[in-house]
Amino acid sequence: MARYTGFHRHNRPLALYFGAFAVFIYLPILFIPIFSFNSGWYVKFPLESFTFYWYVDLFQRETLMRAFWNSVRVALFVSVFSTLFAIPAALAIARYRMPGKAPAVSFIALPLVLPGILMGTAILGLLNWLDVTLSLATVTLGQMVICLPYAISVLLPRFIDVGRVLEEASADLGDPPLRTFFRVTLPCSLPGILACLLMTFTISFDEYFMAFFLSGAEITLPIYIWNQLRFPDDFPSLLALSTLIITFSFVLVFASLRLSGVGDSVNQERSR
């Protein structure tokens, strides 16, 4: 598409606007790490002295460590199970022609936009009616539903264009479909699956609404943060904790998006 580039040459005001938007997106989040190293109790300028105290403090909190391990456990289960559900679904969406596909896809995408409070209270109502005791298991169930549309959208680009020729070759050579799946499709889409695991792990780890409505006595990290927000004394420690979580999430999501090749297909189409 080299010909058309003449249209959209440099547009400085637009580039500046884009830059300003990027700054606006990141700026509030950047203040969290800045103040997490500040020795003062209060979040205000001017900064006092540099300290690691708030980070060290985190490791001495028993409830926090407990909430952390709860989060990790839930996130592990959520990522494995939602990926297991998402693989066949993404395969069906990417490869098969079938009636009723469009409405099915919109239905699956519903949790992307449905407000968390609606889903949280609705599942809570149903569980209560069924006399199910709230626990980390119910949180896991709720978060799986949240994660599924994301998981499928991360897997889709890989399933759409990878390994198709190899699959046909495998089928032509007489491999039954399941063997083709395990020997060709799965290895070819491994980066996508890894991306999916990382993405769903992060989403579950950071998820608030389901954890809020569906957890029992055991809580996850975001709920711990929510509960501690009431205590002004804990504010600096929460900043330190948030810094760790944000850094960790950014790294995982970045890796996941690179692996899944989000946006790459755009460029390929262009050069074709």
Binding site: M1, Y4, F7, H8, H10, L14, A15, Y17, F18, F21, P28, F31, I32, V43, K44, F45, F85, P88, A89, A92, I93, R95, Y96, R97, M98, P99, F107, I108, L110, P111, L112, V113, L114, P115, I117, L118, M119, T121, A122, I123, L126, N128, W129, G142, V145, L148, G174, P176, D206, F213, W226, L239, S242, I246, S249, V253, L257, G263, V266, N267
Partner: protein, 302 residues
């Protein structure tokens, strides 16, 4: 059988089910989708149905009376508080959505037309924060806008103001800004996708025929990106309708939304049926928005 040599484990006589599936691609697809669809039905449709049923119950003392009635809904019509809350929620969600879609359009445009080879990475830069903790992003705003927050203390130490501006936090404006910030990616992506789909040769043709850049934008780019704008509108309006964390974190008493009332009903007030009725109203509003979306999309694509 000649094939057995190539694939030792292939069954000699495939069963009836295998043969059926082999012949019907649609059924194979449905079979693969089935686990997800079943899970979603159990975990979304059934609970939403349950909400609908629960909204007709009522609370007496500490007991939930499970006899159907419209008491919760008539209470909503009679009590002006509900009307105020619903109206306010609509106002906040609509203003926030309109402003964001308008402000974000150039961003999506830049991404689609000007980023060239680095498109994937820029798209990633813009969407990255939205994958991470929603709670922490709102929390960050509290740090920025707070009474002794970044803006106030920063301006004070620079000597621009002598007293904190209290209007920053605990206002509807704060809620609108934070909501716009929280959900902006939901508006960027659909517009970007629709701009990306525009066939560049239309623009070339228009240029060859003498259209100025502004005319090209008005007559080609904008109309063709309308489906993206409509999608962006819905993608943002729906989640903002159900907000309740942002009003708690940065809003004041005059910025409580329906979501806050739903949460109170399910939490401290312990009146689940009333909360469920409010949730149903929220769902209906969202469904209405969805309907408008479908109709608009039909009109736009003609």
């Amino acid at each position: 059988m000649t094939f057995t040599g190539l694939s030792s484990r292939a069954p000699a006589h495939p069963g009836a089910v295998t043969r059926f599936l082999h012949r019907h691609e649609g059924w194979r697809g449905h079979l693969l989708l089935a686990p997800t669809l079943i899970l979603m039905t159990v975990a979304i449709l059934a609970p939403l149905g349950m909400t609908l049923i629960m909204s007709t119950w009522f609370v007496q003392g500490y007991d939930v009376i499970k006899s159907p009635g419209l008491g919760n809904y008539t209470a909503m019509v009679e009590n002006p508080m509900f009307r105020v809350l619903i109206w306010r929620t609509l106002t906040i969600a609509l203003t926030c959505t309109l402003i964001t879609v308008f402000l974000v359009y150039p961003v999506a445009y830049y991404l689609a037309f000007h980023t060239g080879r680095h498109k994937a990475i820029w798209l990633l830069v813009i969407t990255l924060p939205f994958w991470t903790s929603y709670l922490l992003r709102v929390f960050a705003w509290r740090v920025v806008l707070g009474h002794e927050g970044v803006i106030n203390s920063g301006l004070m130490s620079l000597g621009f103001i002598s007293e904190p501006i209290s209007a920053l936090l605990y206002s509807q404006t704060a809620v609108t800004i934070v909501l716009a910030h929280s959900w902006a990616a939901f508006a960027v992506v659909p517009i970007f996708v629709s701009l990306e789909k525009i066939n560049r040769s239309y623009l070339e043709a228009a240029a060859d025929l003498g259209d100025s850049p502004a005319r090209r934008f008005w007559r080609i780019t904008l109309p063709l990106s309308l489906p993206g704008i409509v999608a962006a509108f819905v993608m943002m309006f729906v989640p903002t309708m159900g907000e309740y964390i942002t009003p708690i974190m940065v809003g004041g008493p005059d910025s409580m939304m329906i979501g806050n009332l739903v949460q109170t009903m399910f939490g401290p007030m312990n009146n689940w049926p009333a909360g469920a009725a409010l949730a149903v109203v929220m769902m209906l509003t969202i469904a209405l928005a969805g309907l408008v979306f479908v109709v608009l999309n039909k009109l736009v694509q003609r």
